[in-house]
Subunit: 230 residues, 2 copies
DNA sequence: TAGATTGTTAATCGATTAACAATC
DNA sequence: TAGATTGTTAATCGATTAACAATC
């Protein structure tokens, strides 16, 4: 089970490659060159070439990569991600949106259950996982050995929920509440910062306005990459 | 109105500083050293020191920064962000969650209106902006000179919506639909990739499991910073 | 003076990109 | 051979961090 180590940044691009290559495959295209893929997905061509080399070993010059091969390699990497479960706390609009989101599965990620103070009000028939009372969280997490928690409660409740998550054995927290959590050392924390992301986008837009005369294409490429820092 | 240029990555930390410093201020604390703030917010001390220097000019060794001063400086930078408007398309759960999110205002960002194919079904009384029919989008954006659009429609509708946004004069798109958009050069695109973020978190967690014996504190710091790439 | 703190310069790190050599 | 393409090495870039000097 020796796995090449795939950097996270490459990992994040895999579903985009897969998507695009699937469409090409369906259209009967047999080969794809890094340059063409890069153009289609707004990425740098060298990046794509490196990614492909990492994914699928050597290619043949002048020939491009076999679409089938690439899809197999990407698929096997994604399929071999260890299945990992998370729970979600706080079934408001954002919480339920995440619960209904289909994209996690492709990475072997699964939201096993959701918790809320008023579970009975929140089960709306579209949510595909059980919604349980917060009181059941600790036993659930320990029983199912869940290590990841998603926090989508209001800011004022977030720290208390985080404490409970830690008591429940959670080791990594994805926090959407706009507040800073204090966690014991050894717990991984990632703060999603929606306002910051939009602010970054606005910032880029105004930068771009300044440099109207620069090659537009280049600008776009750069723009697309610069926004997403933590 | 000569503005020091604040890098986006610093900008994103400002609300966290503000939050923390306000609490200190309320507790009667007059001075804050970069080291202490860094520890509280899980940041590197040198980063915080550099941020503070950028924000508030020189400080006095051995004394820390005046909490009041820092708050004034942060406030003035955030207040002087140009007021910018965005629109949102697709008032599902994720869309309404964003519409109700309060954090944008602090950056001078405002969602001016939302658009949907069935606006009448979506106005639920909690959404604080008008929800209009998609047909009205183009005239609205041109009238209000809106330049940013948030896409929270299902993947299959996203490209068509993006085209419409571009026709409406939108210059920057924040895309939540898990699909790749083709846009004319000169349009700024930022793809939010929820699945990728959770995958990154899972990745970090497993890395951390491997290095159990390393100083936990250090690990946590590192962890918190590494996740959020685009 | 000693210690906490600031500020700066150089090193590091990860990712992307530029330039170019190799190959079918 | 010419051209498209791959792969590699070095440069670049932004951000963070380490090491240290300066100051109250």
């Amino acid at each position: 089970m020796e796995q090449r180590k795939i950097p996270v940044t490459v990992l994040k691009r895999l579903p985009a490659y897969e998507d695009y290559l699937r469409k090409q495959q369906a259209a009967g295209v047999r080969f794809a060159s890094a340059t063409v893929v890069a153009r289609a997905l707004n990425l740098g061509d060298v990046s794509v070439r490196k990614d492909f080399a990492l994914l699928a070993g050597e290619g043949k010059p002048n020939c491009g990569r076999s679409v089938d091969d690439l899809l197999l390699c990407i698929g096997s990497i994604l399929d071999n991600q260890n299945e990992k479960a998370a729970i979600l706390v706080g079934v408001g609009k954002l919480g339920s949106a995440l619960l209904e989101y289909r994209g996690f599965a492709r990475y072997g990620l699964r939201i096993a259950a959701a918790f809320d103070l008023h579970p009975e009000r929140k089960q709306d028939g579209q949510i595909p996982v059980p919604v349980l009372h917060l009181d059941e969280m600790e036993s659930f997490c320990k029983r199912e050995r869940v290590l990841m928690g998603i926090v989508t409660v209001p800011a004022h409740a977030a720290q208390e929920v985080a404490n409970q998550l830690v008591r429940s054995g959670i080791r990594a927290i994805w926090n959407f509440a706009p507040t800073h959590l204090l966690l014991p050392a050894g717990t991984v924390l990632y703060n999603e910062n929606m306002a910051g992301s939009l602010a970054a986008l606005a910032h880029l837009l105004s930068q771009q306005d300044l440099s109207e005369h620069v090659s537009k294409n280049k600008e776009q490429n750069k723009a697309e990459k610069d926004v997403g820092n933590s």
